[in-house]
């Protein structure tokens, strides 16, 4: 496993900042009636998708969920692409046929275009790892799922199958304490969800999901293990969903004290402070970053708004693919 050089610290920080700023902008656009679908915010969880995705090599594969905007940014999905998606334009990942952060980009390793049904990407990511293993490629798959999604049969079947075949995959469970209005105490009878890993015979590691370096390092170790043929790892990244389930959810069921306590652990502020201590960040650089991000977002929103929608008749196209997959030649 490579340790991150301090030089790279700044890009982690910037990507977390970008993630938050993009989601804030998208939320504002939602209220203006300008987005397609709802916004699902990963506020407070930025360290997870950003930190973990940094641990992947260029030709690894990742299957992010809807609070994993950081994954897209780290893999090089542009802010323009993201706003085109939020605005449902013809040039977006789903071309307006689907909404939300259902973005994929095979050429940049964002291999699975998530769907709403939970956690449908997980078994697919397992299949990607299976392909790597079949072809003896030293590549790794990474996927995410929620504390709530851990209760589904699909998560069980996928993780168990990966464990049995020792597939090169890393499962990150983002335990953000809530699944919509449901607290984790109603989701599982465990003190720590990571205890489930032992039930699959794979290593389980709990990590502070608000500590981007810890997330990076934990993931990098798991990725190295997967690449080394040692099979899957189950990482529980403990964090907190700081907003409602979606932009329409006031989340009154979340105790304010809980939000207050977690606000203290904000991953961006925390890492910012660390960078300042290390003399990698100061006010002027931070303002500079803020400015760059906001320019990037302004550009992207303008670009997206200038982008056309798909013509209405395309509502019924592309249900099937054309061409043939093999000539058996």
């Amino acid at each position: 496993m490579d340790r991150l050089t301090p030089q790279k610290y700044l890009s982690l920080y910037i990507d977390m900042r970008r993630m938050r700023a993009i989601e804030e902008k998208a939320t504002a656009l939602y209220y203006e009636g300008r987005t397609i679908g709802r916004i699902y915010s990963g506020r407070g969880q930025e360290a997870i998708s950003v930190g973990s995705t940094y641990a992947l090599a260029a030709d690894d594969a990742v299957a992010p969920m809807n609070r994993d905007l950081g994954t897209h940014l780290v893999r090089g999905i542009t802010v323009r692409e993201i706003f085109c998606q939020y605005l449902g334009r013809a040039n977006s990942s789903n071309r307006g046929k689907d909404a939300g952060l259902h973005i994929s980009s095979p050429e940049r390793g964002v291999m699975v275009n998530m769907i709403s049904n939970l956690p449908a990407s997980l078994p697919v990511a397992v299949g990607i790892a299976l392909a790597f293993k079949i072809r003896r490629e030293l590549r790794v798959a990474l996927t995410y799922f929620g504390d709530g999604a851990s209760s589904t049969g699909a998560s069980h079947e996928g993780i168990n199958f990966a464990a049995v075949r020792r597939l090169p995959i890393v499962f990150i469970c983002e335990n953000n304490q809530w699944a919509l209005s449901t607290a984790t105490s109603k989701q599982f009878a465990l003190e720590h969800l990571v205890e489930r890993a032992a039930g699959y015979g794979i290593p389980g590691i709990q990590v502070d999901g608000n500590d981007v370096l810890a997330v990076y390092e934990t993931t990098a170790e798991a990725v190295a293990r997967a690449r080394g043929g040692e099979g899957p790892t189950f990482i529980e990244a403990v964090t907190m969903r700081m907003k409602g389930h979606s932009v329409t959810d006031p989340a009154q069921y979340v105790p304010q004290s809980m939000l207050d306590a977690w606000e203290q652990k904000d991953p961006i502020r925390r890492f910012g402070n660390h960078l300042r201590q290390e003399n990698l960040l100061d006010d002027s650089l931070d303002e500079n970053i803020t400015g760059k991000i906001s320019a990037e977002i302004d550009d992207a929103v303008a670009y997206a708004e200038a982008s056309p929608f798909l013509p209405a008749e395309e509502a019924v196209t592309d249900v099937y693919a054309e061409g043939i997959a093999t000539t058996y030649a």
Binding site: K97, A99, G153, A179, F188, F309, A312, V316
Partner: protein, 325 residues
């Protein structure tokens, strides 16, 4: 006249059923809090968490769990958060639940509520995974009943009938209608499963429909007033199907337009057309036409969704085409 929304009518049915019979209880994701569409709001305060039970995200455990409770004499009402997610409970539902009475003659009174269909707003539609209309799968699964109320009155009365039914009933709430208002009497009343309602009388042509498409069908009929005299039949339940009502209107007008929001191929409209083509053939004065969503997932962006979903204008056009035949 006591006006209530479709949502309120359903909540009222739950509340009155739970008050009247302590065996009735609710099981589902996030229903303590209110449910995504707020239908179960406040019920936990009245009935406690032993009768309004939040579950993990586990549709198979929810449906199977409800069945077990039904076997022990309780009357479970399940909420599946969106009809799209019923697929995650498919095996329990079609193999265990649906076939149980046939195999054992043990009744399984059990209701599965789920919001179905698309909503169109300024944010586009509810998209490919929160808009589906899977009723045809379940009409093709002997052992299940399937209700799709089109009005607040029916929503309450059909739900109370479904809870009182001895069989598993899939109760597909039409999410586009949650805010629609209509006459809803206080107190317990039931609308029998298997009785269609003649929503509008007419002589020239019949629209057969159900669920969210009733209201555009009626609007289309009104728009065509004086031009084509349209009869509109609201099936209310597709299993049991009120075959008599379907054949009666077919024999009366001889021209049939079937309208539903679900996709076309092998949708329930096909069954209606087949029934009529087999049993009212001699009375037909024209081809049996179907209007539905096209064979594609439900797109999200507004223009795509507008194009995709059947609406009043398309119904009007279809009626004109058929009546000109």
């Amino acid at each position: 006249m006591r006006e209530r929304s479709y949502r309120a009518a359903i909540r009222e049915a739950l509340l009155e059923a739970m008050s009247a019979d302590e065996r009735v209880f609710l099981l589902g994701e996030d229903i303590e809090y209110a449910g995504v569409y707020g239908v179960t709001k406040g019920l936990v305060d009245k009935f406690g968490c032993d009768r309004v039970i939040d579950t993990p995200i586990a549709e198979t455990a929810i449906v199977g769990g409800a069945m077990g409770a039904a076997l022990m004499g309780l009357l479970p009402v399940v909420e599946i958060q969106f009809a799209d997610f019923i697929a995650a409970a498919m095996d329990q539902l079609v193999n265990m639940v649906a076939k149980y009475h046939y195999r054992t003659r043990t009744p399984l009174p059990l209701v599965i509520r789920a919001p179905a269909g698309a909503i169109l707003s300024t944010h586009g539609s509810t998209g490919p995974f929160h808009s589906q209309n899977p009723e045809a799968w379940f009409a093709h699964t002997p052992g299940l009943k399937v209700a799709l109320p089109a009005t607040p009155y029916d929503a309450k009365g059909l739900l109370l009938a479904a809870i009182a039914d001895m069989n598993p009933v899939l109760f597909l709430e039409q999410k586009a209608l949650y805010n629609e208002k209509g006459d809803v009497p206080e107190g317990i009343y039931t609308v029998p499963l298997g009785q269609a309602r003649l929503a509008r009388e007419g002589n020239d042509l019949s629209i057969i429909t159900y669920g969210a498409m009733l209201s555009p069908a009626l609007r289309a009929a009104d728009l065509l007033d004086g031009e084509v005299d349209v009869e509109v039949l609201d099936l209310r339940t597709i299993v049991p199907l009120d075959k008599e009502a379907v054949l009666t209107t077919a024999r009366k007008t001889g021209k049939i337009l079937i309208v539903h929001e679900a996709t076309r191929t092998a949708g329930f409209g096909a069954e209606l057309a087949a029934l009529i083509a087999e049993s009212a053939f001699e009375f037909l004065d024209g081809p049996i036409m179907r209007l539905s969503s096209p064979d594609a997932p439900v797109p999200a962006a507004p223009e795509l969704a507008g194009y995709y979903l059947p609406d009043v204008n398309e119904i009007v056009t279809a009626v004109r085409r058929l009546s000109a035949y």
